[in-house]
Amino acid sequence: MNSAEAVLESLQRQGLSSLYPDRIRITVGRATCGLAAGADAVYQYIREEADRRRLDLQIVSTGCLGWCQQEPLVTVQAPGRPRLVYGRVDQALTGEILDGAGGGSFPESRLIGKIYADEVLLTGQRIFLTGEPESGPVLDQTSFYAPQLKVVTRNCGYIDPGSIAEYAARGGYRALWKALQAQPEQIIDEITASGLRGRGGGGYPTGRKWQATRRQPGDVKYVICNADEGDPGAYMDRSVLEGDPHTVLEGMIIGGYAIGARSGIIYVRSEYPLAVVRLQEAIGEANRVGALGKNIFGSGFDFQIEVVKGQGAFVCGEETAMIAAIEGKAGEPHPRPPYPSEAGLGGKPTCINNVETWANVPPIIMRGSGWFTGIGTESSKGTKVFALVGEISNNGLVEVPMGTTLRQVVVDAAGGAGRFALKAVQTGGPSGGCIPAGMFDLPVDYEALTGAGSIMGSGGMVVMDERTCMVDVARFFLSFTRDESCGKCMACREGTWQMLQILDRIAEGRAVMEDLELLERLALAVRDASLCGLGQTAPSPVLSTLRYFRDEYEAHIRDGFCPAGVCKGLFRLVIDQEACTGCGRCARVCQAEAVSVIGDVAGQETAKKYLVDQERCVQCRSCLDACAHRAVRVIPRGGAVVDAD
């Protein structure tokens, strides 16, 4: 066994004894979402209390397990016992958990699931944690996790992202070792055969891009990781960078080897400070063990990775704009061809792939392209990580095989919308479109989503219910793309501004039907004439909502009515006296003291009814959101008043 293998073996041993110690191991999810939910206080409390109670515990920070709704997430692993996963952990629950760690029994409350065995995806191993028979709830069988297949997020929430040993214990850097034994062309063939497509949104075949870059003459080439994740509402990449940075590094080193590049750059947005720290840490660790730097694992291959921070420009997610920014210029795209694979950074052949794309490389190399093609659909292989946000019971990140239906993701896994009727799902962020609830049996794959007028995009999925106005959604996304337009080309710069003018008119009830026709003509022109992807896809939310929700646009224009009750001044809120139960919640949450009670007969709660004073109402909709009986109704301004007077 040569020294590189010895290094990996040693790391693996270290990592395994860290992952499965002889004492109780407690992990706290301290990625950005966990911290925002208060995980830091939980972590500090555990450490202080463990100390005070003289408990010998291993306390580890991990990334996110994905169920962000349940943050702070804490797992407890007692030797020989199933791993317990607790959600919404606070100080009180922490105390109870520590009681368990001290010899008592572990609490039942907020136990969201138990793990009986760990899958090591890269090797296909199963590590059984206990001999006990399964008793619910088993984490993998909960509705949130059941449809999932964790390939990209396989380590997130399990390992300490700062520990290269724990990464190695789950098969880490074995793929790199294996790749270095093969020829670069063989690696490219394998990636091509796997059918892996760019996960940043474009869906371009990854193997083809690598091949195109490799084929270019010259010995200076670059690989870049696009970690600029600018779609508002998408944070899949952040989660991977914070929870398992090594998988991205390993993917890039393998890619660099295959393409013939000696330099890699991770372009990560500065709005992700924790991800930057984790990456720098991981790069340091990888260098330390010889997975980065000179003569990697004795192969003679040199590779280094540098982190460059994006300073706040969504357009820099576009390849040529990103390259310009790295070169110290403003992030303006330029016409393609030439493509970055021919002439990119400094005019050299450059291969840019998204975080998720790179993270898929080690699994494909370890398990083979055949394994990967066995997952997903005909045209879209593998899995996709989605960030489920919005009006959804279970907010968080899910990773599912391509081909899983929207219903399985949004309703089954994420729990649907709750009290209000599901209306649509927005995929692809500002470059994408809305899929109405009636189409939720659509399988999630590149072609199906494009055919429906949206795109896969980077994976953001915003769930909307009946309280969302689709005109407002289009306006929201368009104001985003207008703000983020670099301004170079007339189509995008002026086109998005003009489209927004019209949308503002519609949302304010000042538009005429001709405006709708003009909006559509502009949308198509901006789509076809823009210089780069930002402008080309900026009209998508407009075109998509016009396709499926035209009636809402027409209601705004013809009737001056916003049926969802969002566009201020275009609706009234009234309380249906039949449905009203007199609970008074609306009055309590009202921001303008506009809800009052009538018929308040002492001792007869049910005779009480509530009433909205239209003069005072500021249309904040707190009452609508709070009413558990759906008694608050949205009606047109000139509509009949349903509540009694």
């Binding site: 925002a36 779609d231 508002p232 709005e271 460059v308 300073q311 706040g312 110290g328 992030g331 904040c620």
Partner: protein, 157 residues
Amino acid sequence: MYVDDAEIRDVIAGHQERNGRVTAILEDLQQRCRYLPEQALRIVAGELGLPLTQLYGVATFFAAFSLEPQGQHLVSVCHGTACHVKGAGRVSESLERELQVAIGKTTGDGQFTLKSVRCLGCCSLAPVVSIDGRAYGRMKPDTVEAVLSDWRGGDRR
């Protein structure tokens, strides 16, 4: 925050990145000075041999850079999709009222700069407000005052 020429040159010399050196230097200066002073940009252009117009273009292109002094604390209201759907607009209005300042501006006493950002990546906790990097989730118009009180009157408690 005043930084003298010598310190600016030190900052420049301290950045030897092969890639992304320009924006790394600007980010560093932005953090130290709380904005990018004209003098600093002139020195950077000179030291790096870049046309000042190009550097000025970069400094005005990216949202992270400011040519005007920022306040002691940066209050960022997330206007990402999830936050928008969950009422970020109302939280935003409440912040403007509380701080008596419009989005994009700094309070008269130099304490707070209020900015709109998209997105902070904590979408499950929408709507989110971040102050100097510390994120507050599940914000409501009426919780704004309590959150700000943590930061008012000098340093964070």
